[in-house]
Symmetry: D2
């Protein structure tokens, strides 16, 4: 941590800060500069709340230097984490494709889509049984009946099931029927849920919150890992900005930013990230080009009749065109990306 004194701070004010820092068991290093004095702080084992010093007399500002996370870092584990779900992987050499409808609406719908997903060579099937909807009056998902359909899709097609849990009860049910638990963007800082997820035996796919900074997202993963579950997959799905031509703004720079500090795999969701059918394919390509470990793609056999998020679902034909394109880009960047 670094405490920056005001230009007109007195000797006494500097001494007072040094004294308080020392009383807290830390070490203070005053650095007189041309314009003002700064005081470096060392000796802290975890993160210290820097801002508390900002109200002391003579202090201009306090900057945190140490990062508050540990388990997610490359410092702790320099090799990349590969999540294994049966014989499929996320984070390894293979590009992970997770495809399916936004919500499970019926057995017929799920099977029609799963057929195409399986045929594309994807290993994961997504579909919501519990849907977090902005309005209480919108379709909320089929609940456990939806999960049973998903389990049957797995049985029939050998696809691994990725599905969302919105609370502890839902998490128990997903553990019973699914393979990977999704924590949605709106729950990224639902710490009670993150702690439950940390005690699950399944991998957790953690979506970035709409207004989450990189540190907040990584700390949400840290919450899960701190409970003992190290199988966390990060998912970039767009952030909220002033831009209105998309539902959210996909922040692709988050992928190299995560890579630089963390060993966790990171995937991207161009469907929720754009909210527009015609943008999904170009952004999916971009996601692979930037170095994602996988993609989550919404596919629907009848998008114009979908009970939720129809505007962003690919048709089966569009999805079938997408897959070879993103595989080809993955091929191109793989050596560069590994290097």
């Amino acid at each position: 941590m670094l405490i920056v004194m005001k230009a007109d701070a007195t000797e006494r004010e500097v001494e007072n800060v040094v004294r308080i820092v020392t009383e807290l068991g830390l070490r203070a290093h005053p650095l007189p500069g041309a314009q003002r004095t700064a005081i470096g702080i060392t000796g802290n084992h975890g993160a210290v709340d820097a801002t508390r010093f900002e109200t002391l007399p003579g202090v201009a500002e306090a900057l945190r230097v140490s990062k508050p996370y540990k388990l997610i870092t490359l410092d702790l584990k320099p090799e990349k984490t590969i999540i294994r779900v049966g014989d499929a992987t996320i984070g390894g050499d293979e590009l992970a494709l997770i495809a399916g409808p936004c919500a499970i609406e019926s057995r017929a719908q799920a099977f029609a889509i799963a057929e195409i997903v399986r045929r594309s060579g994807a290993r994961f099937f997504r579909g919501g049984a519990f849907k977090p909807r902005t309005s209480p009056y919108a379709f909320q998902g089929l609940g456990e009946e939806g999960l049973r359909i998903l389990a049957d899709v797995r049985e029939a097609y050998g696809l691994k099931i990725v599905t969302e849990a919105m609370d502890e009860h839902g998490l128990d049910l997903v553990e019973k029927y699914g393979d990977v638990v999704q924590i949605g963007a709106r729950n990224m800082q639902n710490y009670s849920l993150l702690r439950c997820a940390g005690r699950s035996r399944l991998p957790i796919l953690l979506k970035r919150g709409l207004s989450a900074t990189l540190d907040e997202w990584l700390l949400a993963a840290e919450y899960i890992m701190a409970e003992g579950n190290y199988n966390v997959i990060l998912c970039e799905r767009g952030i909220r900005t002033f831009a209105q031509h998309t539902r959210n703004t996909l922040d692709l720079a988050a992928i190299p930013a995560v890579r630089r500090v963390s060993h966790l795999p990171v995937v991207m969701d161009p469907s929720h990230g754009t909210g527009k059918n015609y943008m999904v394919t170009p952004l999916a390509r971009a996601g692979v080009a930037v170095g994602c470990d996988g993609l989550i793609i919404e596919v629907h056999d009848q998008p114009e009749r979908a009970l939720s998020d129809g505007a962003q679902a690919l048709t089966l034909e569009q999805y079938e065109q997408l897959v070879p394109e993103v595989r080809a880009i993955h091929e191109v960047i793989t050596p560069a990306h590994v290097a």
Copy 2:
């Protein structure tokens, strides 16, 4: 809803949209314009997901016109809601003052602060027993022990207790010890928690999420009300923007915006909304001037030693100066505001 066709949309494409709309049991009104045709849709009783029409051939965009909420609206209940907590109110003529520390740290701390809060004439005491913290390694609150201290503060000073619940279990405990349940910004779209809150017998203070639009915030209130609990207090506490000179950007225009559509009372939290001690007083004044029904203010007897959010807490002295100022402004605007 309004569907806007592309400039080069064919007659057939317009007819196709009209047909699909009609099949869904709605009525379509084509409006040919100089440059393009628009199609008005009527007959829907709830909100229709407009975006699903965007992928139909010839459609440029689809605009939702009807608002998706009901219970929160002035259309439904033209007179303002007044929340009664014992003999105190929020939303009536009185300016509601809710003051106290960010987190309950000890009995001594709580009582030292409550003494001053009581003396200022405030009717509500705030303080967290369960703290949602960005890092799993930060102080998480005293839990039920903190709630017991709060109950003792009520006993000793007659202050009503406002405190946060982060999950169903916490909500049960707050019902046991407190008077008003706070739902924090991070949980504003934790729909499972909102539904539980909707079944509580206590009023709910619902903080706006960091990136919540006005509609999303009002729909979160609608979730609670749809379960039968009509005692909801909205709380503006700042949104996330690019600006870095404050922790969040207080969106004071949200207050008249809420007033224009909803009967629910709305308060403001200048402490979390700015994150800086020296900004709390001016922004508290602004909150009252803009028409808030109350303020939530963090106060601490020793801010530099606070276990959380020390940088934004007022000292006891600063708090005591603040109260008469905001009361005087409330006085000035009251007739105007009522008019």
Copy 3:
């Protein structure tokens, strides 16, 4: 400046950074910590571009500590600047009211509005002759003819004229006819224009850019002052955020933030800041409560027929109600604010 090394940075990498810093004529202070080494830099007389060090081997990040501005600071000039325009002031004890239409549309319109503005006791009349419009097909203002009308308003009512210049030529004309030159939000970083403004003999009202940070805004003022014109008035007029219930989000916390570092006066524009007629009065009240030195208010005699920004203009009646309210709030906070 502070350079933070990676946790696994080697002794050599630290030495290399120290060597480069020293070669640049600065002094390096290595601070070994429990987890990583930080290197404090002193001896720089201006701001050093910190980020250039970020690509050196072993460096995690580089943080700038010194602020890059000088002339705007309280460090340089501890007493507040009062701008004098004839016998009127901005920044002194008086609340400066600057009112008038968005654009000058005709002599009749300007005089009808000026009559009411004068009667309210305001000292400044605003109105655009050159209008920066998002579309090239929208009304662009009356040009020099508009300035002549403004000069006649001054003559007739004794009001000081505040009007925008969009380029060097416009600035020459405003110097000829007006009293205060407005630089609009879109031109806040038009550095050629700022330099011209710095050579003007008139005070400059500098609007904050839609996405300007506090530092960028203050540095734009610094550009003007660096050319020798010290009469700069800052104007908060809303920033661009995700929120859609207003045209912009007024950032009222910017007012105390400016006060803390700068001696320049700061006013607020609730008309452009909200874009909605019904929000102007409550936000004007809030602006005064937060400590602004003045308000810029759009008033129109026939808002529904205005050639630009009709939705945000107050009617003459609304304006006449507003003035005593904001004056009363100014009265309430004046002692507190001075203290």
Copy 4:
């Protein structure tokens, strides 16, 4: 345009809106719905300022439907624009590479970088002679001397010169020495400069403003085209958001969004778009994958000694690795993208 009446609007209020609309020479189409009446407006030839109707009694809101631009649209010109600069093109089959330093610092620097740029097969050289800097005390560029060096680079290497003009005077000079005029992000709404650019004989590379919506950006291009210069290249270079792990947030979805409405070519600047050396290569790959017509890349022979933006410049080696990667991705997507 669509005017939405309040749920409790009276028959008279609806009639009043219809009357005013009719008086303005437009046609009103009232559409009574289950909850409220909407009024469609047709007959307008340009855009009507919708918001002016919002203050009429009984009106809830007014939505603009027609887009305000013409010349940039695919409606007007369905085939994509290809900009020809001598024998090089932007917008055709070829991926346009525009590389060079942020600022021209010396002849030696410019030539050392141009050598590598030429060898990579790029056709365009970039470098600033006039630098818009946030601080008046930062290096502002070599001015005309820098332009002369650029002209010599063209002479020596046959590269086309892309360089920024900040005002009318600079534009005259760039016309004398350069091949493509860049309008920077800060000047995107400097309408006086846009009009000058519209009278230039050179193509204009128009960077998106930091907080520009898609419509505002396209309207800035419309300003240039409305003066007669149809050779406009759009450049996405990142927007300002809350995210702090990058200098700006690259909005890659803007590329397909532009494609959907406009015939103009669009390139991307991953250097300014991220501000971090290690992110430039992955984001450059993503830019090509999403369908950009070209890339602007900052390259420096000694990034740690650069006079501006050193942190984001690629080294010569990094640049030489990047080129074959982005070419390979361009190859992969070309058929898909054309289709």
